[in-house]
Amino acid sequence: MTREQFLNELKAALAGLKEEELEGVLAYYAEMIDDRMEAGMTEEAAIKAMEPVSVIAGRVLEEAGVAETREKPRDKGNWQEIRRPAEASKEVRIQAEGKRVRVIAQEDCNEIVLRYCIGSADIFRLHEDESALVLEHKLRPVSSFANEKSPEGFSLDTILNSMGKLLSSLGGRIVSGVSYEAPENEIEVTLPKTYCGELNVSTSNARISLEGLTATQPIKLTTSNARITADDVNCAGQVVCTTSNSRIALGDVNAHALRLITSNGRVELDDVLARDGVEAVNSNGGIKLTDCEIGGALHAATSNGAIELDDSSCGDITLKTSNGVIGGILKGKREEYTVSSSTSNANNLLGNFSGGEKQLRAVTSNAPITLKFAE
């Protein structure tokens, strides 16, 4: 796509916005593209580095919508709460469009609780049988609610945005965030502290967070253009996280195996234990492991980003990037590994040697390899 085409698409997607606002947005993105090209990118690469037009337009319209309705008292909305015994289904599946999904776990609770608000743009359906409890959410087509000028449900950070507006002064009031109230653009899923079914969450353009859960079955989290976070999670099965244009961040996670896929974002693992290996795939972004213990193989592949392993231990290791450093400190001894590493146009401090049982392959270009062994 050319700069011209991109700006035209953006303009089309923002039809209905006030002229003055529109010009501001177009000038801003034109400048971003020009600055990237000035920094050495080709026109095509500069356009590719931009977020999708739909995402940009979503944010802008959302912001404009909030501004228009700021003075109006917000509709309380139509809150739903669904409770089911945890053992009734073998799987909890959430399929949403543009809604944030927040999964939490509660001690002394043997129920699955789904809480969500039905806004004017939302269509919810619940299917349930022994195999799965499925909450399906769709947004009405844009045209039908754009006319209603209702920002709710359009995109999902809308409510948070208006909350943010109220919190115009920063810090102190953030404390009130400790007593959490679910925003209207969020589906909140509460599971028992130890949950024995599968968890399968998919949404789009909105984030997914998972906190405090111990699961005996696999977990699958899928979104786009938004981050996925997991904190304090134990899973006896595989955990798969897939997003795009955003970050995947895992902290204090103990899983059988992990598969993490994003693009144009970052993959961050902190204090993660995976008995049977980790696969991390990214592009145009880094991959970082801190204090991780990977029982099986680690495959980390990206481009235009660094791969760092800090105080982490792994079995066989494959690290592949380009234009990014491969660095950090690997727990373990040099003698345990057979190493093959290469880079171009930069120093390779790791080198090549054989003898150890574990395989370590590291390939990058235009950046040094500084990975070391803790010894």
Partner: protein, 102 residues
């Protein structure tokens, strides 16, 4: 991170970056990226809000034969940073309390 918290942090970070000198969109995204993840589409409304709040001013200057918008922090913006730091001292107290003996 919670969205509203992140919003406050981004605003404060952008203002902080501007205390180091006037800057433009692309540079702000790159510099802020080192501290927290921020995309162009996130930055735009932040800049607009800060402008509306009088925390920064915008001016246009020619650069390599085209126009580029520069952002400059105002006294109100500097006060916002000071307020942020004061208020976060309270947040840190709560943080320390929650963290204790965990």
């Amino acid at each position: 991170m919670d969205a509203q918290m992140k919003r406050g942090l981004i605003e404060a970070c952008i203002l902080k970056l501007l205390t180091q000198g006037d800057s433009y969109g692309y540079q702000l995204v790159r510099e802020a990226e080192e501290v927290l993840s921020i995309s162009e589409s996130t930055l735009y409304p932040v800049l607009r809000r800060l402008e509306t709040a009088g925390a920064l001013t915008v001016y246009t200057m020619e650069h390599n034969g085209r126009l580029r918008k520069y952002y400059a922090i105002t006294d109100t913006g500097r006060r916002k940073i000071a307020d942020f730091l004061t208020e976060w001292e309270d947040v840190m107290k709560v943080y320390d309390f929650i963290r204790r003996d965990v």
